[in-house]
């Protein structure tokens, strides 16, 4: 069984957020809701300044704090490492949102779905078609595009990334590109001090 993980190549990422929009169309996300996005930070003093673009998503932690705090077992980890939320079990208590050190969970408020992407209270056919997957009031987050992965495809954000800054693969396979990149370019996990053992690595 593969253990899925992702590597972000910070040398490649241009902060364009094509990933964020691809995710929105793949997962029918309402306005203001992101399963992935790229942050940016200015570094240094003029004139030796640069800006770092930092892609983020659910880290699918091996020891996921969100799962630990979930009172109903709605948050669970698939055997392949993908951390999921079962909308039928989620009671919307928000514990996981507080517990996630990476700010990667969103409580799906009913008005987010009702307001519509164009903010006029009417849903486009795209939204009417896609919002059926959501249970208002529950927690949502990135699933590594689990259905695509199950079908042998790349997550939508990975497939679209113009600079190939997102590399997805099997962390347990010593021959995988993700493993090679983590080894060769010293991949770092976000906030290692939280001991969550993320399945997401950054290389620069």
């Amino acid at each position: 069984m593969a253990k899925w993980g992702m590597v972000f190549d910070l040398k490649r990422c241009i902060g364009c957020n094509a990933c964020a929009v691809a995710c929105k169309q793949e997962n029918s996300l309402p306005y203001g809701v992101f399963f992935t996005k790229t942050l940016s930070e200015e570094v240094g003093e003029f004139p030796t300044t640069t800006r770092v673009y930092i892609p983020t998503l659910c880290n699918h932690c091996e020891d996921a704090p969100c799962q630990r705090v979930c009172p109903t077992g709605a948050t669970y980890t698939r055997p392949d490492g993908i951390v999921m939320v079962d909308g039928d079990k989620c009671i919307g208590c928000g514990s996981c949102i507080v517990a996630c050190p990476y700010d990667q969970r969103t409580r799906l408020e009913p008005q987010m779905l009702e307001r519509g992407l164009f903010g006029n209270g009417k849903l486009t056919p795209f939204e009417l078609h896609g919002y059926a997957r959501f249970t208002p009031g529950t927690a949502v987050k990135c699933t590594f595009c689990h259905e695509r992965v199950d079908a042998g495809l790349q997550p939508a954000c990975v497939a679209t990334c113009p600079t190939n800054a997102r590399i997805f693969g099997d962390l347990d396979d010593p021959g995988s590109t993700v493993r090679r990149l983590i080894q060769e370019r010293r991949g770092r996990q976000p906030m290692p001090e939280r001991n969550t053992n993320p399945r997401v690595f950054y290389i620069d």
């Binding site: 190549d9 040398k11 490649r12 241009i14 902060g15 364009c16 957020n17 094509a18 964020a20 929009v21 691809a22 929105k24 169309q25 793949e26 997962n27 029918s28 306005y31 203001g32 992101f34 996005k37 940016s40 200015e42 240094g44 003093e45 003029f46 004139p47 300044t49 640069t50 800006r51 770092v52 673009y53 039928d88 992407l117 164009f118 903010g119 006029n120 009417k122 486009t124 056919p125 795209f126 078609h129 896609g130 059926a132 997957r133 595009c145 689990h146 259905e147 695509r148 079908a151 495809l153 939508a156 497939a159 679209t160 990334c161 113009p162 600079t163 190939n164 800054a165």
Partner: protein, 867 residues
């Protein structure tokens, strides 16, 4: 709903995939569109079979579905019922039938044709259907009421035509090892096929360690990813390039063999600036071997002199190279450091690194052909070239490249054609032809044939006075408000807009543009969603969007070629039509159907294959035109294209690298002087009064270091305002799209006016202060953010902050249009190319709060989105 029963992810749902082509910017990335079983377009992805975008897409392309389902779309033909027109004023549209709409438009346009066809102002901006641009020609009209050059390249495109006989140019990412980016976003944020370029560029950067040096006033995406960011004072890019040329020439870091044998650098230039010719018209060079002049093609020439002063046929003369060397005396990095603020040592180092990386003398064999390998190149675009002396700016960047012999070489600076048409030839305006005296025939007219001189001017934007450049749409302001001065004997009163938003893109004061709009008796707009300009229309003719229509094109790809199919993914959502149908119907009502078909045959290249020619009285659908374009490219019909999606391949080396081999390139552009003197003579003959104010000094065969006049504004304007786009809003409207809105207004560089931290603090400004930014011509307001990524002299205004109120309530209004800061006058327009200055000298003043009128509605100043 459980995952085990019904997929929740859109691309996994039952449905079908269709091959198509993106149109969220003007370029043409290959896509595949997923349509669910219930007919919903629910996912668009890049086409993985495309060697250009490789299955990748930019954020705009990813957001196309929200254009399709935008509830603000024009859903049927509309007629205005509110006689009052103004910015943000509701036209109170009334739906009408297509028959009624066509009849009104036909009647009104017929009236203007009968009265005076020059009174029609057209703005047709659909790049993927370039043939539409030619429609006014069917009426004998060449007005252009929009900007092309302002925000792309007034001087850029003609200069590419002079140097490469091509529309655009890019650095060759396949082999380049040292890439200078000056005021352009290639490979990072904007310009040519962004998703494709970003992919190839990232591979070159990361896998080959290609060094990237970005020269810009602002820490752009490119600058952030570069090995080196060189902050530069705005509007001094030309001086920076000339300082590099100074080092390359004076430290003898040039490809001398190339300059002598493959350019006109050794041609002798006389005191009048023209080449010295013998009685047969042959241009002289100086043979340093025998120390005497000879015609350029004399087989006995031992050594072409590049330097020295000579006398030939009684004329003092010098090789063109020497002329440039003389100019460069005043352009040392040390002398220009005060202008550019780039430390002399930095400019010298970059010039040396560039020359070293160019590997002058090296070669590479590609497909059995030995080519010079010059893996260093200087790329540039709007920010660097958008200045008063634009032709000179463009030429200075080209000369950095030419001095190291990298023009159209592997790894070098390579011309890119606009729309190749036919795979057997390098077609359209990109054809390479031999000119006189061994030189390449220059092709500065890349968008349309030269518009003939006329007086009184037939064009409100004076296009007949720009024998070289791209349409200076902003000059309509001059002729409209000062008709006597320009000898105008008509007043425009009718307008046709097609996928155009001139009220957003034209320089000059909005209030003046509004006065022109108010003076229009009738305006028709062909468009998809409301914008600043089409809300002034009397009739709207709604067009299909990219998911409902047919097309075939390949626009301006740097490294690839081959037609790309657009096909409908769904039937039209609303009562919309194709542009093809709309223009055919109007043409028929105006009695110009035959000439329109003739024009279509010409501009689409159907004349190359007589069996594809449109019949004079025919009216053809978008599908029929698309099929012909596909057949013209590679003989394949629509079934083939529907299966394959595209015919994209890497550009073929024989047609891409040095297609002019055997001809000499224009180091020195005598044609610019010819154009000047021809225009001067025509103006004299016609006694055109404006010739006394015409900016004759703008026509130079070689660039000089003279300052652009923007630097000479009164000293109280102590900062330079620049504007920029990034990849989310690159090329064309996407701010009305909620997915784009969602990412743009979370990005700190698009939410505030950016100023250098120290420079802001020195002016008493803090993060979040509201300021008024005033130039001598206009003002805007904004919220300040202090940044270490901004040149101390610059105020940077994202294009996302420049919208004004429209009928599309999804568009956030900003603190005024940046273009109000810029003058629409001759003094700040390059007479040689039509390019207006795009940098404004400004002063920044803290104000108490955002003016009330800018706080109403959905604004960038609001904390939350409002609709």
């Amino acid at each position: 709903m459980g995952a085990e029963t019904q997929p929740v992810q859109n691309s996994m749902k039952p449905g079908k995939w269709l091959n198509s082509t993106c149109k969220m910017c003007l370029h043409s990335c290959n896509i595949r569109v997923h349509v669910s079983e219930d007919g919903i377009v629910n996912k668009i992805e890049g086409d993985p079979t495309s060697p250009s975008n490789n299955g990748r897409m930019c954020p705009k392309g990813n957001a196309a579905i929200m254009r399709h389902y935008d509830p603000h779309r024009f859903k049927s033909p509309l007629k205005r019922t509110n006689p009052e027109k103004g910015p943000g004023v509701d036209p109170r549209w009334q739906p009408i039938s297509w028959d009624e709409a066509y009849d009104i438009v036909g009647r009104e346009l017929k009236r203007v044709m009968q009265e005076d066809r020059r009174k029609l102002l057209c703005a047709i901006n659909n790049f993927q259907k370039l043939f539409l641009w030619a429609w006014p020609a069917a009426l004998g009209n060449a007005n252009y009421f929009s900007s092309v050059g302002n925000f792309c390249g007034g001087g850029y495109h003609p200069m590419n035509g002079f140097i490469h006989s091509a529309f655009a140019a890019a650095n060759d990412v396949n082999y380049c090892n040292y890439w200078i980016n000056n005021g352009g976003g290639d490979g990072f944020s904007s310009h040519l096929h962004t998703a494709a370029q970003a992919y190839h560029m990232a591979n070159a950067r990361v896998e080959r360690n290609m060094r990237v040096v970005v020269v810009e006033p602002r820490l752009s995406i490119g600058a952030a990813k570069a090995n080196e960011w060189v902050p530069i004072r705005p509007a001094t890019d030309r001086q920076f390039a000339l300082s590099l040329c100074h080092v390359l020439v004076n430290e003898k870091l040039c490809d001398v063999k190339f300059l002598k044998k493959e350019t006109n650098a050794p041609y002798l230039v006389g005191p009048d600036g023209y080449f010295v010719r013998n009685e047969d018209g042959k241009i002289y060079v100086w043979d340093a071997g025998e120390n005497r002049p000879k015609p350029w093609d004399d087989p006995s020439i031992e050594e072409f002199a590049l330097e020295g002063s000579y006398e030939v046929e009684g004329k003092e003369c010098q090789p063109a190279f020497q002329k440039f060397k003389d100019i460069l005396e005043d352009c040392s990095p040390e002398k220009l450091e005060k202008t550019t603020t780039v430390p002399a040592a930095t400019a010298r180092r970059i010039a040396r690194e560039f020359a070293k990386a160019a590997q002058i003398g090296s070669s590479i064999e590609i497909d059995g052909r030995v080519l010079p390998l010059r893996p260093a190149a200087y790329n540039f675009y709007r920010g660097a070239q958008g200045h008063k002396f634009s032709a000179m700016a463009n030429q200075s960047f080209k000369l950095v490249n030419m001095l190291v012999g990298n023009i159209d070489t592997p790894g070098g600076h390579v011309g890119a054609t606009l729309d190749d048409q036919n795979q057997d030839i390098r077609g359209g305006a990109g054809q390479v032809n031999a000119g006189e005296n061994g030189m390449l025939k220059t092709a500065p007219h890349q968008l349309h044939p030269e518009v003939p001189f006329s007086y009184p001017p037939n064009e409100t934007h004076l296009m007949g006075y720009f024998p070289i450049g791209v349409d200076p749409g902003h000059l309509t302001q001059l002729t409209f408000f000062q008709p006597e001065k320009f000898g105008m004997n008509y007043t425009p009163d009718t307008m046709l807009l097609c996928h155009a938003n001139p009220l957003w893109n034209l320089t000059g004061r909005r209030e003046d543009w509004y006065r022109i709009m108010r003076a229009m008796r009738f305006i028709v707009a062909i468009d998809i969603v409301p914008n600043e300009s089409n809300e002034w229309a009397d009739v709207i003719l709604p067009a299909h969007d990219l998911l409902e229509s047919w097309n075939m094109t390949m626009i301006e790809p740097p490294h690839h070629e081959g037609m790309c199919l657009r096909q409908p993914a769904t039937p039209p959502l609303y009562d919309t039509r194709s542009e093809e149908e709309i223009f055919y119907e109007i043409s028929e009502r105006l009695g110009v159907l035959q000439i329109w078909n003739q024009i279509l045959n010409f501009v689409n290249g159907f004349v190359m294959r007589p069996e594809l020619m449109l019949e004079a009285d025919g009216k053809y659908s978008d599908q029929e035109i698309a099929e012909r374009k596909g057949l013209l490219w590679n003989g394949k019909d629509l079934n083939w294209y529907r299966e394959h999606g595209h015919a994209v391949t890497p550009r073929r080396p024989d047609k891409w690298y040095r297609p002019w081999q055997g001809m000499r390139l224009h180091f020195y552009i005598e044609d610019i002087l010819k154009a000047r003197d021809d225009l001067k003579q025509k103006m004299e003959a016609a006694d055109v009064a404006i010739r006394h104010e015409w900016e004759w000094a703008d026509y130079q065969p070689l660039p000089t270091g003279v300052l652009d006049p923007v630097h000479l504004e009164p000293s109280e304007y102590d900062l330079y305002a620049i504007t920029y786009k990034d990849i989310q809003i690159n090329f064309g409207e996407s701010l009305s799209n909620p997915w784009i809105d969602d990412i743009v207004f979370k990005d700190p560089v698009h939410t505030s006016l950016l100023m250098n931290r120290k420079a802001g603090l020195a002016r008493g400004l803090q993060d979040g202060d509201i300021v008024e930014v005033a130039s001598p011509y206009g003002k805007i307001v904004g919220r300040v953010a202090l940044s270490e990524g901004v040149h101390p002299d610059a105020v940077c205004v994202s294009n996302a902050l420049t919208r004004v109120a429209t009928q599309h309530t999804g568009v956030r209004t900003g603190g005024g249009n940046f273009n109000d800061l810029l003058p629409a006058n001759l003094q700040h327009t390059d007479a040689c190319s039509g390019q207006p200055e795009t940098v404004a000298k400004v002063r920044v003043k803290k104000i108490a709060s955002v003016p009330a009128q800018q706080l109403t509605g959905n604004t960038v100043f609001a904390q939350r989105r409002r609709h």
